[in-house]
Amino acid sequence: MVQLTPQHPYVTLRLKFKKVGSLQYISHLDLVRTMSKIITRAKLPLWYTEGFNPKPKMIFAAPLSIGTESVCEFMDLRLVDDISPEEAKARLNANMTDEMQVIDAYYTEDKLTELKWLSYSIDITTDNASVELAQSCERALLTDEVLVKKKAKPWEEAPTVNIRPLIKEISAELRGDVIHIDAVLSADASAFLNPEYVVKALRSACGILSNPDLTKEYYSIMRTAAYKADMSEFR
């Protein structure tokens, strides 16, 4: 345990947590607001920023976009007192609902920026799911150029980018009537790939998810694991 000094007035507690089910519809900004109330309710010995408007410090790794679930979210919290990680985890979980729970808590001095790759599983439910469709999805994502149009302001021309360099691994298979895709995508702050772009690439390359009836064809995305640059587990 680090000794607290005026130079090191806090210790960093890292939380690995899940955000699943209906909470996939909660934006990152709303998650931050929600978390600040959770840590207050949990009565953790929070370190407050200095200055006119003191606030607890929370740092999140790789924000999730709306529509993606996750079982490996990371957040660093600064504390002024050493409370056991198990105790912190228990208190936090008592103040969250089932869809958001801390999986692991530990003190660390490592930086969140060491997180470089994230793996996702993408499940696409479609009427015409088949082994052939799964294969063509995989092929489409393994070609040298996977082009997608980026989001742009309405008055701008959306630029087309090749996302292939940001895809580390990808595989697709048929599971029942679902096309299941495993993907490891770049999480580097300067080259972050949103898994929605993988779905977008498949839409244009394989013509899936084109049914206008939104209840007939749909997909879900789950963030499942995090890695460092050398593909060792990030924690």
């Binding site: 089910g21 519809y25 934006s27 607001r33 109330k37 959770i38 309710r41 709306i66 749909y218």
Partner: protein
């Protein structure tokens, strides 16, 4: 909303709409029960968006009260925004409750909080989305009892045909009594809609519109309100909670994931108002005044802080500085809030109570913009409306604010008040000019910025149960003329002028003062898709006028005509505590330009004390 596993997959629907977070529920502190273990399922509907409905204190209080009863499960329902509504209609997704995701047809009672008249179309759209017949008379035994409550039901006649039961006054006790009656009749097998409504009419504070027959005179005025049966009361007395210290108050709040309008702890400091401004409906219908003790409030605040983690506590009431123990309360709260990084905010400050002490104590006053409400531009008109503040009060208040470092002030006024002349309108510009001058009285080194004074002018709507309930509303043309005149009087660039749309106020007046003959027009609008009329972007004046015209409603009858003093008013079957004699007395004094002191100075005999209630002011 629909996270019930039995309903169809709507994940892609949620991905296709704006702000899906408002439809998912699942919040911390929401109440979940086993539906098979409760006798009464109660859906509390707010006819506006989640963000607005979640902020309503009344809903928070009643949700807590109902769920304390083990036989009742109260859930919340909000109006879907236009994009979600379209998807619900396209995919046949019924309106459902946030907690269970069950459709409204699974409920026993479905209640609506009617906070403003323009929410009526939204409430009726929600009934349609639930698949219920709009009119009470068309509902079968399988349809839940549709309940209305909130400030609008002091004149609920324009929507009387759409509701089965109206809760007049505060709901804490009466809603429980209604549920208990329902459970009892279900248990002993005597329940039918008709039998239940008849029995419910005997509960004090319950109005069953279908049990009254209304007849009209040839000139269109009301001839008679006649109960259909002898056992149905001719006058419905408003219900109040007598002792707020003993009444339940939520010890936890549902924590929304998405940001809501009032995302903070709300402490209700007292109910009622000692002032008696003659245009103000809330100041009359929430009488008698009942204060909570600082001890109870401090206990409530601490408990809510621990169960929510909010960093802001807002003290609310109609006029917070009139609370007789404000210092004890703020001192009690400040004893721990600063250390816990919790700030206090006060939303309603009277000009004559603004002080340096308040500026130091209250962070919303310290950091936010300042708003005062002189309401009228001249002392003569302020006396007519019994505002009981003068120009010196305003200059003193803005002086304190400016010396405390503020450089912008917002002033609220009203156009179209009874007896108003162009001179009163010019007085508004004049007053704003004097506020600007007050700023420049400070030495130059104390004013680093330029001053900005905003005047925001609403249009007067004569409301039921006020001394001005008989008054005519200015015609649309007159209101526009006055707005233009004021615009012409303002030459200083430091004064910003904003005003309400007179068209909205005109429709509001029709709805606030209307009777049962408006229901055809409202139904027509709803069938043609009207919703969210309280939102500027959805309010369509021409559609309202067209609906009134096509259903034979003469809008002038309810607005520019004014009501006769001996006329039977649409809300005369309601007893809100304050007597008609008092309102007439106050009206007379208004025309004489005489003011009435506040209840703190002496009792003016308004009549609300007959309702009981623990308070320090009433005789």
């Amino acid at each position: 909303m629909s996270h019930n596993p039995e309903t169809k997959n709507i994940s892609s629907v949620l991905k296709a709409v704006n702000k899906p977070g408002r439809y998912i529920g699942g919040e911390y502190n929401r109440v979940m029960k086993n539906k098979d273990e409760v006798k009464c399922r109660f859906a509390f509907c707010f006819p506006d968006t989640y963000e607005i409905g979640m902020s309503n204190l009344g809903v928070r209080i009643l949700y807590d009260v109902l769920n304390r009863d083990k036989d009742i499960w109260c859930e919340r329902v909000y109006a879907p925004w236009e994009d979600m509504k379209a998807k619900m209609e396209e995919y046949d997704i019924p309106l459902s409750a946030v907690e269970s995701g069950d459709p409204l047809s699974a409920f026993d009672l479905v209640a609506f909080s009617l906070q403003y008249e323009l929410c009526y179309t939204t409430a009726l759209q929600m009934l349609k989305l639930a698949g219920f017949p709009l009119r009470s008379k068309d509902r079968g035994e399988d349809v839940p009892i549709i309940v209305g409550g909130g400030p609008c039901v002091f004149n609920s006649e324009p929507v009387a045909d759409f509701f089965d039961l109206m809760n007049i006054g505060e709901g804490e006790e009466v809603l429980l009594e209604i549920c208990h009656l329902y459970n009892e009749m279900k248990d002993n097998g005597t329940y039918t809609r008709a039998a239940f409504l008849r029995a419910a009419s005997h509960i004090e504070g319950v109005y069953i519109p279908s049990l009254y027959d209304v007849s009209y005179n040839e000139d269109g005025t009301i001839k008679e309100y006649r109960p259909l049966y002898d056992d149905v009361p001719t006058k419905i007395k408003k219900r109040i909670v007598e002792d707020l210290d003993k009444a339940p108050y939520p010890d936890k709040l549902i924590m929304p994931y998405v940001e809501t309008v009032h995302d903070r702890i709300v402490l209700e400091v007292y109910r009622g108002c000692i002032r008696g401004c003659r245009f103000c409906q809330a100041g009359m219908v929430y009488r008698p005044i009942r204060e909570k003790s600082p001890e109870t409030l401090c206990k409530n605040a601490k408990c809510l802080y621990e169960n929510t983690g909010y960093d802001e506590i807002s003290l609310i009431s109609l006029s917070i500085s009139d609370y007789s123990e404000l210092r004890e309360l703020t001192d009690g709260l400040l004893s721990w809030t600063d250390n816990a990084h919790v700030s206090l905010s006060l939303p309603s400050l009277r000009i004559d109570s603004f002080s340096e002490e308040l500026m130091k104590k209250v962070s919303s006053v310290r950091t936010g913009g300042l708003t005062f409400a002189p309401e009228a531009g001249t002392q003569r008109l302020r006396d007519v409306i019994n505002k009981n503040v003068c120009e010196e009060d305003l200059m003193r208040a803005v002086g304190i604010a400016f010396r405390g470092g503020k450089s912008s002030v917002k002033l609220y006024f009203m156009n179209g008040l009874p007896t108003e002349t162009l001179e009163d309108i010019e007085g508004i510009a004049d007053l704003a000019g004097k506020v600007v001058k007050e700023y420049y009285k400070m030495p130059k080194q104390d004013r680093p910025r330029g001053v900005s004074v905003t005047i925001s002018v609403a249009c007067f709507v004569p409301k039921p149960f006020t001394p001005f309930q008989w008054e005519k509303q200015d015609s649309f043309e007159e209101l526009i003329k006055k707005q233009e005149h004021l615009k012409g009087c303002i030459t200083d660039k430091k004064i910003r002028y904003t005003y309400h749309d007179a068209k909205v106020s005109f429709v509001e007046a029709v709805l606030a003062r209307g009777d049962r003959r408006l229901s055809d027009a409202i139904e027509l609008l709803v069938n043609e898709g009207a919703m969210f009329d309280a939102w500027d972007e959805y309010f369509d004046y021409d559609k309202w006028m067209s609906a009134f015209e096509r259903t034979g409603v003469d809008t002038a009858f309810y607005t520019t005509r004014g009501f006769g003093l001996d006329e039977i008013l649409p809300w005369d079957m309601i007893d809100c505590g304050v007597t008609k004699e008092f309102l007439l007395r106050e009206r007379k004094k208004a025309y004489e330009g005489k003011t009435t002191p506040s209840c703190a100075e002496h009792c003016n005999g308004c009549g609300a004390n007959k309702l009981g209630g623990k308070n320090r002011w009433c005789n």
